[in-house]
């Protein structure tokens, strides 16, 4: 027999292996080598989280108890996938175009980005998922128990509850490590998806192996199995059409509405075409999973002793036959099924809880509103981690409350019926423009309450959460309110009864309230975007005009997307608008795209609310929408085209006027330059001339000679430095500079620069924030020139940073073949107006002549960077003064030569 320690060891090894796979996949993805990580096969396999431990163990039990009825659980999804172009394709298209983060986000986004709906769906999903997670805990605990029982010599299972607690805790830790390790909370979870695909293969192989063993190892081939089926009670099981149709419908609904399936089906979808492959491959997978269910069930019934739990035949059959390795494989299969489901479900639910409950609440409660929300990412990640722990705790609570006794299949169906409540709002939202948020909210709430009352609470058994009396006589003795016989309709199967009433009332409320209420402008617009998602026409915009300050938006976006992501997004937008700096014009289009981008992280409702506070009064009005909703669509389209053209013109004009401004500035600057040079040369000359004349005075007091000679010396040095700078600048500008290219470690170069800059205002204590691990990057460039740039930036920070405790953060980042080094201090920064002037010659911002240099430092830096094939720019919105140096890791010329070679 397999000792307990080995069993636990195998589990741990398996988990570590999965973690390794996830880690490797994520690293690969980060390097941009997505390739097969996102193949249609991986997508299909990841969908297999539909098959949980319930399917793995429970299907056999289900077959042993109710014959072929278990097939309905596979039949529903199969039908949905075979008819994928009806619903799935549209769902995935909407999910991608609206950057939907969860099913709650989908409903919330469709009905006017309403956070209330997000909360309702989140609550439903969490409550419905609880029994499902409990089910996974139960099945793994049971499977541990199988190995523990009937062993005279062996280990005793510590206790069942203990196992479940360890399991819940372990899975929580695992999920947190897996699902929230990635700081880019909005990005896809490449690692998780890959691990789940592997688990899909493990469970399929395990179940097929046990099935093959049952058919050819225990029984004597298919014919023998067929004979045993005839002999077993499975063959006698009556077919109940009502239950068949009901269960098939429920399972088909579940594949659309289960939050974890939504996560892999829509959120993690990398390419819509993968759906086409999944439409046949996923039903095939389901078919393979169900192929040996009946054989295992009948062989188990005939071989194993009377009263064995059929839910565990997959394990007990090989064990009873002495096939320990096979049993171990089956155990791993079940373990895989449970862990993959729990991980994805917890990630999906945690996303919903953090996006629709925690973050909005936090923004609402925060003093000063959400204008500059600071580090929302930290909050989002932390709330996701806590949510995962909370969800696991709920699952465990359900497990211990329900006593872990009910059959696996029954528990799973309760969950299915719960999430099925989302179906009317979802389908209505996708296909009916008249559906309104109020209708959806009422429908969802009513359906949810009926489900709770008629199915969820009774699931704890008589005397559990509902008293015996309520179950049999109704609350307060009102007969027609009995949970299993609402409105006096008796004799219906409890599950079908609850599904029927909850969904009927849900749908009725949804449709009738939708007909009675008017959608808000935003709902109308989102409705159009959802229902007409295939039409390629110009999308109506949510913002009628811009007007927000780009720098404010950048500060907010950085808190949500992270500094680099946000800067990259803004810069790309600016470039697309034909602007050279970091800040784009805040056109309605730009704001729309920004909102969508933010929605990918915090959900549509929060993203909309956050943008709205900057673009006050710019939200779309009813009049704006009249055009959208009316039949004058063609006129609108035409005018949109015109608008696009005029926007193009405006962009060209903007570019032109920018160039014009620059030219005018340049000509003013040229005059100023000459006059500045004159000033900068004459000033030291004045001292030199005056003091040398003084030195010629025969009755100069004795002590003065030395002092005045020193002044003359000092001023000549100043003069020389100025001339050097001017010469340097002219050589750099003429691109005639001789670069001496060397290989160096960037860290050493920064060290050198910090050292050299330390004699600028040495009396000030100055704190550097650096990350040495990021700095160790080899770089091929003119290292002396690069260090010159660094010294200049660091000295400037030391000179001008006006914080009480001055700090300078130097952060290095490598992207592709380019390296960026940011220098960000904590002073008051550079006013917007001056930002584009600072790189010009003699553009000294302070009046203080004592600044030391002639105001050529940054101009020289800019020229050096141009010569090195890089750039230096001012980074707005960072709090203090911020400069970004960006350059290729190796000189581009060399690259070209290498390519030619």
């Amino acid at each position: 027999m397999i000792p307990f320690n080995i069993l636990v060891g195998v589990c741990l090894t398996y988990v570590i292996l999965l973690f390794g796979i996830a880690f490797a996949a994520e690293r690969r993805a980060r390097r941009g080598r997505i390739g097969w990580l996102r193949s249609p096969m991986v997508y299909t396999l990841s969908l297999s989280i539909y098959c949980t431990a319930w399917t793995f163990y429970g299907a056999v039990g289900y077959a042993a108890r109710s014959g072929l009825e278990f097939v309905t659980i596979y039949l529903g999804p199969t039908l949905v996938f075979v008819g994928w172009w009806l619903v799935l394709r549209k769902l995935v298209r909407i999910g991608r175009s609206q950057r939907i983060t969860s099913i709650a986000d989908l409903i919330s986004s469709r009905f006017g980005k309403s956070n209330l709906l997000g909360v309702v769906v989140t609550v439903i999903a969490v409550v419905a998922a609880t029994p499902y997670i409990a089910l996974q805990l139960q099945s793994v605990t049971l499977s541990f128990g199988v190995f523990a029982s009937d062993r005279p010599e062996g280990w005793a299972l510590p206790n069942v509850n203990g196992t479940a607690i360890w399991l819940a805790g372990g899975l929580a830790v695992f999920t947190i490590l897996f699902g929230t390790r990635n700081l880019d909370a909005n990005e896809r979870h490449h690692g998780v998806v890959m691990a789940i695909a592997v688990e899909a293969v493990v469970k399929l192989v395990a179940l097929l192996a046990v099935g093959i063993f049952a058919v050819w190892g225990v029984a004597d081939g298919w014919q023998d199995v067929a004979a045993r089926i005839d002999a077993s009670p499975i063959a006698d099981w009556p077919l109940m059409p009502g239950r068949w149709i009901g269960l098939t419908f429920l399972a088909g609904t579940a594949i659309l509405t289960l939050p974890r399936i939504f996560q892999v089906l829509v959120v993690e979808n990398a390419d819509e075409r993968h759906l086409a492959t999944a439409s046949w491959a996923f039903p095939l997978y389901l078919m393979l999973m169900s192929l040996f269910v009946v054989p295992i069930a009948v062989v188990g019934l005939s071989v194993l002793p009377e009263g064995s739990n059929p839910d565990l035949f997959v394990l007990t059959l090989p064990l009873a036959m002495g096939q320990e390795q096979l049993a171990m494989l089956a155990f791993l299969g079940g373990f895989s099924s449970a862990t993959s489901m729990v991980i994805v479900a917890a990630i999906a639910l945690a996303t919903m809880m953090s996006n629709h409950i925690v973050t909005p609440l936090w923004l609402y409660l925060r003093q000063g509103g959400a204008r500059a929300p600071g580090d929302v990412r930290g909050l989002v990640l932390m709330s996701r981690r806590l949510s995962i722990a909370g969800i696991m705790a709920l699952g465990y609570a359900y497990y211990s409350l329900s006593g872990g006794s009910a059959a696996l299949a029954a528990i799973g169906l309760i969950s299915f019926a719960g999430v099925a409540q989302i179906l009317p709002a979802m389908i209505g939202g996708m296909f009916w423009r008249g559906a309104t948020g109020r209708g959806a909210a009422l429908g969802l709430t009513v359906g949810f309450l009926v489900w709770i009352y008629a199915l969820y609470l009774p699931s704890f058994g008589p005397g559990g959460l509902l008293s015996e009396a309520i179950l049999t006589k109704g609350p307060f003795g009102i007969g027609w309110l009995r949970p299993h016989a609402l409105f006096g309709i008796e004799g219906l199967d409890p599950l079908l009864h609850a599904v029927f009433w909850s969904l009927s009332l849900n749908t009725f409320c949804f449709i009738s309230v939708s007909l009675l209420t008017f959608p808000t402008p935003l709902e109308r617009m989102q409705g159009l975007a959802f229902v007409n998602v295939y039409e390629q026409g110009p999308a109506p915009r949510g913002w009628s005009r811009g007007g927000a300050e780009a720098e404010d938006l950048l500060v907010m976006a950085q808190g949500i997307l992270g500094a680099h992501e946000a800067q990259e997004f803004f810069q790309k937008e600016a470039v697309a608008q034909g602007k050279a700096d970091f800040l784009p014009e805040t056109t309605p289009d730009f704001i729309e795209r920004l909102e969508r981008r933010l929605a990918g992280t915090v959900g549509a409702a929060t993203a909309h609310a956050m943008i709205a506070q900057f673009a006050v009064g710019a939200a779309v009005s009813a009049q704006d929408l009249m055009a959208v909703a009316s039949e004058a669509q063609q006129i609108l389209e035409y005018s949109t085209q015109l608008e696009a053209k005029s926007e193009e013109l405006a962009r060209a004009a903007r570019q032109l006027s920018e160039v014009n401004d620059k030219l005018r500035d340049l000509s003013v600057q040229k005059d100023a330059f000459l006059s500045q040079i004159s000033h900068e040369l004459r000033t030291p000359m004045t001292s030199i001339r005056a003091f040398s004349e003084i030195l010629m005075d025969p009755d100069l007091p004795g002590g003065m000679l030395q002092k005045y000679a020193e002044i003359i010396h000092e001023e000549t040095i100043r003069l020389t430095r100025l001339l050097d700078d001017l010469l340097d600048l002219s050589v750099l500008e003429a691109r005639k500079v001789q670069l001496s290219i060397k290989v160096a470690n960037l860290h050493d170069l920064l060290e050198r620069a910090v050292q050299s800059a330390s004699n600028t205002r040495p009396e000030r204590s100055f704190i550097y924030q650096r990350d040495p691990t990021m700095e160790h990057v080899p770089i091929i460039t003119d290292t002396d020139r690069l260090v010159q740039v660094f010294i200049n930036l660091i000295s400037n920070a030391r000179k001008y940073c006006d914080a009480a405790r001055p700090e300078l953060a130097i952060s290095v980042r490598k992207r592709g073949g380019r390296l960026t080094v940011d220098f960000i201090d904590n002073g008051s920064g550079i006013p917007k107006k001056a930002q584009r002037l600072i790189f010009e010659k003699f553009a000294r911002l302070t009046d203080t002549q004592r600044a030391g240099g002639a105001g050529l430092g940054l101009a020289i830096c800019r020229e050096i960077m141009v010569n090195l094939g890089g750039t230096i720019s001012y980074l707005p919105g960072q709090g203090g003064a911020a400069f970004r140096v960006s350059l290729p890791v190796r000189p581009e010329m060399q690259q070209r030569q290498q390519q030619a070679a």
């Binding site: 006059s675 004159s678 000033h679 004459r682 000033t683 000359m685 004045t686 001292s687 030199i688 001339r689 005056a690 003091f691 004349e693 003084i694 005075d697 002044i711 000092e714 001023e715 009046d847 203080t848 002549q849």
Partner: protein, 122 residues
């Protein structure tokens, strides 16, 4: 005639040189290095001659001069303007202009000349 010179110049070396030269010629020299509050310093202790640099931190010499001339009390104060940007034109309100760099003797004679001219008028 008075012997007080006020020197507004932010370059400490230049200020020191001028102070030395004028002191040797028998003047009482006070100096000030910031343009922003120069006008208050002038009002507080009105000099007999003002030597004013053009490029000053806080406020330019031109602006200070314009302010001074608006005040009747200083409308005829002799002002020697020092400019390091070449001398394209005579700054408005200046009694005399001198380009940097200058010969020390020129400085002494210019200060004397504008002080005498005022004394003669009085």
């Amino acid at each position: 005639m008075g012997k007080n010179v006020l020197l507004i110049e932010d370059e400490p070396h230049i200020a020191e040189a001028i102070r030395y030269v004028l002191t040797r010629d028998g003047w009482q020299v006070a100096s000030h290095a910031y343009g922003g509050d120069a006008i208050e310093v002038i009002r507080r202790s009105p000099p007999d001659v003002l030597v004013l640099d053009v490029m000053l931190p806080g406020r330019s010499g031109h602006e200070i001069l314009a302010d001074l001339r608006r005040d009747p009390a200083f409308s005829d104060l002799p002002v020697l303007v020092l400019s390091a940007r070449g001398l394209q034109h005579m700054p408005e309100g200046a009694t005399r202009v001198m380009a940097k760099p200058f010969a020390n003797a020129e400085m002494v004679s210019a200060v004397r000349a504008i002080a005498d001219a005022r004394g003669a008028r009085k």
